[in-house]
Symmetry: C2
Subunit: 338 residues, 2 copies
DNA sequence: TTGTACGCGTTATCAA
DNA sequence: TTGATAACGCGTACAA
């Protein structure tokens, strides 16, 4: 039969006790080279691999980190995931990746799923900073690290981009180009979106413009589909003439949707409308989209390594809140107003 | 203390045996409403959640499916992953997602990792159809399903697109447009790439053209970076004048790289060169890239549901090999030769 | 250096 | 309808 061999089988065939086999597997120092070799032979012969489930139960440690992201289909999150995964791998952890699809209820379910699966820690990009999942994590005492979200009320650990600054950079760039009436396509009420809007306002005020003259689209834009809907709607209502000269979209994906609509309607970028995105996902460079770069991969790396170092040192009394610097990437989607 | 409660704690507090608690958790029918309620109260009060690790060990079933893809950063695979995940979720399974980064050695490691973690089944997009991982899976007797790969020698279960047909469609389209000299940027020696090339040849021969007059780039192209390198190299050697009028790239990502180089060098698409990609990832539509569509999400769905149905019925004596029809999506990256 | 025996948190079998 | 109790596969304190 091809029953999967257990530690027992190895022990029996090698004529030793299971503890000895266990010691060999874990490279315990107190083991004679003789028995070690004998056991190793059988292990290879049987192709024995320890059962991680049993091992985890006994060790009370799974060596697995749960990762909760909002949408792995989005390159922004995919990059974060990659950064996390590579870092975990280097530290002998595996990753249990899930995504919430921006659904709060699902986020909660996944959190509990990961908890049930006894992951050693969790990295989460929460739907918003007052998410129920965070409360649960806190209460359970599981080590966790937020990514792409800062919390104001709670002293959680997190790493994110300084999105106020990012929003400011994008907007100031447009203002410096000469635009006085700028559209901002807002995101949902997650912290990054709120921060970008804050940056937007800051630049507007600093530029001696009036917020009331800006076109703030109070959407909950997230995806390119949202971008399409929003822009189609806007044009249907106000017409192409109603379009301001410049647009700052909450993220690249949304900006892509806008571009899509524009090319269908024959609105030329940047000749007729200037457009700035956010994130700097790969596609942005192909489309020559001016945008604000976030170091996504790096962000994943940091979250993972910080979480691990917290877990392994047990230093839970230090709150780590890391703010990364965004960078304006100027390409070809904006023009100087003459 | 905030020690996580176990079934024992619940039992003690409810004044019943652990078997009773277990029965309540699993909604066993033979349980009186009275005790059930009593136990449920305690469960809620303690916020008890069963330990999935222990449960899996006892049940000899983890309700988890391992998924091995080549690159989740690539939207093509990300879409497959989404299809898999949603389907699994509907069937009360979770997904353990990993990616090999196109590295054979890593693929092997991950396969063993998933096996150690006792996943109930595996969905894999192997690096090639003779991959060592597949042998192992077969030997272990774990249910598994290939995605985006068909096997000729082995009777494995798989779902993939008819890539011979896809390659044929792309090439024939270019030939019908009037091109007699076409460049094909080949992929690695995975089955899909080989099939696309086969389709390419078929269309060439059927079109009464000669293979020797076609420009076959014998690359192992996978990513947009590969596309960039290949095209820069080509232009450096043969110059822009050396470019054929039409190109069929092994996938959209590679085509994107080509586009990138073209726009830098001022080569206009489709005015000077016609370009066809493969996959129809989201970006393709934004860039008006003519391409061959694969139903990625659907492919993931199918793999997951077929795998589950095999696992749950135990019908391992029936080999499932599913070929999906590709579709040519004509957009704006090719022009009729006049 | 090796073995015995118990524990990890569940499920499942068998009695009661 | 309930409760003991033996698995599940492994790690480990303790004894030898």
């Amino acid at each position: 039969m091809k029953a999967i061999p257990t530690i027992k089988d190895v022990a029996r065939m090698a004529g030793v006790s299971i503890s000895t086999v266990s010691r060999v597997m874990n490279k315990s120092p107190k083991i004679s080279p003789g028995t070690s070799n004998k056991v190793m032979d059988i292990i290879r012969q049987l192709n024995y691999e320890p059962n991680n489930i049993a091992r985890s139960l006994s060790r009370k440690k799974t060596n697995t980190i749960g990762v909760i992201l909002e949408d792995i289909g989005n390159p922004f999150f995919a990059e974060i995931a990659k950064g996390v995964e590579e870092t975990l791998k280097k530290n002998k952890y595996s990753m249990f990746l899930t995504n919430t699809n921006f659904e709060e209820e699902l986020e909660l379910k996944l959190t509990n799923l990961l908890l049930s699966n006894k992951v050693d820690g969790i990295i989460i990009s929460p739907i918003n900073d007052r998410s129920k999942s965070l409360e649960i994590l806190k209460k359970r005492g599981v080590p966790f690290f937020l990514v792409n979200c800062r919390t104001l009320a709670e002293k959680f650990n997190w790493v994110t981009t300084d999105n106020v600054r990012g929003g400011y950079l994008a907007t100031k760039y447009l203002i410096d180009l000469g635009y006085k009436r700028i559209m901002h396509i807002k995101g949902a009420d997650d912290q990054p979106s709120k921060d970008k809007f804050r940056g937007f306002k800051k630049a507007v005020i600093e530029g001696k413009l009036r917020m009331s003259e800006q076109v703030v689209i109070d959407s909950k834009a997230k995806t390119s589909k949202d971008g399409i809907n929003i822009m189609e709607n806007y044009i249907r209502q106000k017409g192409i003439e109603g379009l301001p000269g410049a647009i700052f979209a909450v993220n690249d994906d949304v900006a892509l949707g806008v571009l899509q609509v524009f090319s269908k309607k024959g609105v030329r970028v940047p000749e007729e409308v200037s457009l700035v995105g956010y994130d700097d996902i790969d596609i942005a460079s192909y489309l020559f989209l001016t945008t604000v770069r976030q170091e996504k991969y790096k962000m994943g790396e940091i979250a993972a390594s910080e979480l691990i170092s917290e877990m392994e040192s047990g230093e839970s009394y230090i709150t780590k809140q890391l703010l990364m610097e965004p960078k304006l990437i100027v390409r070809n989607s904006c023009k100087l107003l003459t």
